[in-house]
Symmetry: C2
Subunit: 197 residues, 2 copies
DNA sequence: GTCTATATCCAGATAGAC
DNA sequence: GTCTATCTGGATATAGAC
């Protein structure tokens, strides 16, 4: 992926370098164990330059987060355009998440694993973000069309996606040796069977 | 619950005060946003006393964590003694987790939601801890006895417990207004249906 | 065991030349 | 826009009396 895709704002080389480095360090060591000096050293961008591009350390995290939420939202919208039935859409979302976890583990760790509110106190929980809203909509659509059992919509959504999200956690924690797509069919069968009418 | 239950080590009033305060602050503001001074102020125990009882700030977190893992392990072992079939055991585990989330949200937040390795670098991921091992065993037993479809054991375990764990996250994030036990039946039906033979 | 006072360090952030 | 040098606060942790 292009480093541009890390941010929602106009890209410059220095800015991109900082974002790419911060993403790596934030996921490797955690936000609080990463000092701005660490980012300076590993990105090759000076302190002054960093504070020229970002308001403060939190601003780096926010820029990363906003860019990635946007990117994931677009990906899910593309899935909605490409697939017609809610079931196909949900499956495609899980497939996308599994593939992203293998190809861009740092992004997935930062998006799904980090405790954003600890370092971005103003941020809404990620489950209220656009991509998660789209996921819940897919499940609600399926229920409205009668494909699913009549359940509390949130229960249905967690039933469909909860197992997959746990599998991603296990993979990022190094508990699963095989790549996630290996498990896609089984995971999907379980997920859908749990709610199918 | 008794504050004693927060730690695996011999209890003293000061020690317990510190642990109870730390649990609250660590979950409210996060480990890194909590200074030892905060704990001093809110526990009423002095800096010197805290460092007499604990090696360092991380030592407070470790004592908390070890005590809580032990406690949850015992609870699950009690469930294993009390219920005979794997299905009943799994359901009882979810019920226990749901009830704990309502009665002791801080404990559940600290156990299931915190990123332990960020502040306790030597700690194994929580999914390798005893309670999680017991959960996986319940599912494997069910599969061996033919109650479940033949699946990868880890896929089956995440299918059974993944939805419930996501529901706990949603509840701790304030997304669900109703107490978790309200959803227990639906969640359990989905979970078991996803893997039942 | 508990306390107060304090040492030490390093983080985040800024100043101001180029 | 980028850099180096520097300020300042607050954090962890210790010393040593009681």
């Amino acid at each position: 992926m292009s480093v541009n895709a890390l941010s929602a704002s106009p890209a410059t080389p220095a800015r991109d370098q900082v974002l790419a480095t911060a993403l790596r360090l934030f996921t490797e060591k955690g936000y609080f164990n990463t000092s701005v000096q660490d980012v300076v050293r590993e990105s090759g961008v000076s302190t002054g330059s960093i504070y020229h591009h970002f308001k403060d350390k939190e601003g780096i995290a926010k820029a990363l987060y906003d860019g990635l939420v946007l990117r994931m939202g677009s990906a899910f919208e593309a899935i909605v355009s490409q697939y017609r039935t809610p079931g196909d859409r949900c499956r495609a979302v899980i497939e996308y998440l599994f593939e992203m976890t293998e190809s861009e583990p740092e992004i997935m760790a930062f998006m799904l694993y980090a405790k954003h509110r600890e370092f971005m106190p103003e941020e809404a929980p990620i489950c209220s973000s656009r991509p998660f809203e789209l996921m819940r909509n897919m499940v609600s659509d399926a229920m409205d069309s009668g494909e699913l059992l009549p359940l509390d919509p949130l229960v249905a959504a967690t039933a469909v996606f909860g197992g997959a999200l746990r599998m991603i956690n296990l993979r990022l924690d190094g508990i699963l040796d095989k790549p996630l797509p290996t498990y896609l069919d089984e995971v999907w069968q379980c997920a859908w069977r749990s709610v199918a009418a």
